[in-house]
Symmetry: C2
Subunit: 342 residues, 2 copies
């Protein structure tokens, strides 16, 4: 198995801390991982944290059980300048982006098994000319502008989103039969190939209270969601809905589904954070490679302090590892199909 | 203490079953309750369920530990016709409404300590000329068209709603500084007087993902919610927000608040049903009397079958009892103030 590549995201945040603390206290959890970053970012932070960590510089993605390996994809001449804990800098922004790009390309070229991303500081990247709302859109672009779906997954619940970072007022107009259908196809397909679920059971939330109560409170269920479900079911996708979201996440019903597709950000994020806080992994479905992410931000004020939890990083790595294991056991046609996309 | 009045709601649904099964198996839980309904509705259902229940007909709200008392507020001549399990009828609709009205008036006149409402079939009442969306609006009307707030409460969480049964597309325009402020005042006031919380801690959810991220995804936080919070805090209300809703319901943060005020139905109903399914009680705040309700529907298909849970009824009664106990211990000025409203 090629290594799992970890990008640390914003170097002034807790991304480097998470990796270093995990290696220092639970090295086994990083046994098949390689960090994609300038080694200096980790050396300096290890020193600041008072951690005696054996780092290894490698020329290509490569894991080791003896050293925490760093693969620096930047050219020798690239100067990113010093990193000061808690203070973002325009100097490091392009290096942050270059690391993510290099890690994704390594995945596409099968030199890495997956990419696990640490938290970025979006405003800093935006100010430096990064033209994407976040990681996910950038990765989808690198993969050839493929359609994608944001999923949050924990042990007990998986939620996928029809819309993501959008004002609530804009959500109803954004819903369409074609995009809903596309999302259902991606979720169905990836639950099969990345999670080894032969016949995925998918629940779709209504947009409105009580899923509109037969058009009494909104028509999106009738006009958009139900037609998409009908078409998806015709294609053999085992999807039910649109169902009232509050009932769907109640204990009796949520166990009936392998994933719940939600109309908007908070509809999915509220229940998964309420039920699985600190254990949820952010996964991008639809990409021709495996990508998971921590579910926390940069926590700039806590970088270098040592008092953080790296449990989300571990969860993201474990999830990527399991998805890779499921994937390599899949039918060859799927892999062939994916290869054509690249 | 005057009795707690229970209205059974739609007689063809499981409202009567819940009361009868609770009395048959846990009579202590109804020790201070009186049913507000024609006694025939309960006699027939008890027979159908094969329950040997001693019913008592009383002339005014009155509880007994020997008999399950029924107070029929309808005139002697009123004929509601037979009730057939599972089949709603226009004949009973006016009796259903009359019972709710009588129970509410008894509360206003201090002849009852609280009203606990069973589930109604809204469409049936609507077709019979009932001009209110539901119980809550009708009760607020009887109390003199007072402003009210819908709250769902369980052992671990209380959520209050700024808007209720409204299409999601209509929610953003419905939010206003004045209504948000009014809701915060009602929640604050009722947490003090009905729940004995001296300094209630209230959290307010943002409308948009990440509470709009400083205007990046929507402006309602900046234009409406934050100004309402500022004004409420000036009035001495301990409210925080608007906060990202997904973070607010995560375990570390939700414990910091006695109640969370939500912008729309699913924002509050999703987390409370996910975390406290079957234990949540629906409470109407702002009324000059105590009103709680079961959190389930009429379940017409299960009426008369015996296979139902009455746990929500018990929770609603316990909640009403606790609210009454808190209330009678309050400062007399408050009661005087309330009396003026009637």
């Amino acid at each position: 198995m090629p290594p799992i590549l970890i990008t640390v995201g914003e170097p002034a945040g807790i991304g480097p801390d998470c990796v270093l603390l995990a290696w220092a206290t639970a090295p086994e959890s990083l046994r098949d991982c390689c960090i994609c970053a300038p080694i200096a970012w980790l050396e300096e932070r290890a020193c600041q944290l008072g951690l005696d960590v054996r780092l290894g510089a490698v020329e290509k993605p490569e894991a080791s059980t003896d050293t925490l390996n760093c693969w620096n994809p930047l050219s020798q001449d690239a100067k990113t300048g010093p990193v000061c804990c808690g203070t973002t800098s325009a100097h490091t922004a392009s290096a942050v982006v270059a690391c993510i790009r290099a890690a994704a390309l390594a995945c596409i070229q099968k030199k890495a098994a997956a990419i696990v991303t640490g938290p970025i500081e979006k405003a800093v990247l935006r100010d430096s000319g990064f033209g994407f709302p976040g990681h996910t859109e950038f990765l989808a672009h690198l993969a050839g502008d493929v359609p994608f779906v944001m999923m949050l997954a924990s042990e007990n619940l998986r939620v996928a989103l029809l819309t993501t970072h959008l004002a609530l007022a804009d959500v109803p107009a954004e819903l369409s039969v074609s995009e809903t259908l596309q999302c259902l196809r991606i979720v169905h397909d990836d639950l099969q190939t990345r999670f080894s679920i032969a016949v995925p059971r998918i629940g779709l939330c209504g947009l409105n209270p009580h899923a509109g109560e037969a058009g009494h409170f909104g028509h999106e269920e009738i006009d958009v969601l139900a037609p998409a479900v009908a078409q998806a079911r015709d294609e053999g996708i085992n999807v039910h809905g649109p169902l009232p979201a509050d009932t769907l996440f109640s204990p009796p019903m949520r166990l009936e589904f392998d994933a719940v597709v939600c109309c908007y950000h908070d509809q999915g994020l509220i229940p998964i954070k309420a039920l699985s806080f600190g254990e949820a992994v952010n996964i991008t479905l639809g990409l021709p490679f495996i990508r998971t992410s921590v579910d926390h931000g940069t926590a700039l004020d806590r970088a270098g302090g040592g008092k953080i939890s790296y449990s989300s990083l571990i969860a993201a790595i474990q999830c990527a590892r399991a998805m890779h294991a499921a994937h390599v056991n899949q039918i060859p046609e799927r892999i062939a199909k994916e290869s054509q996309c690249i």
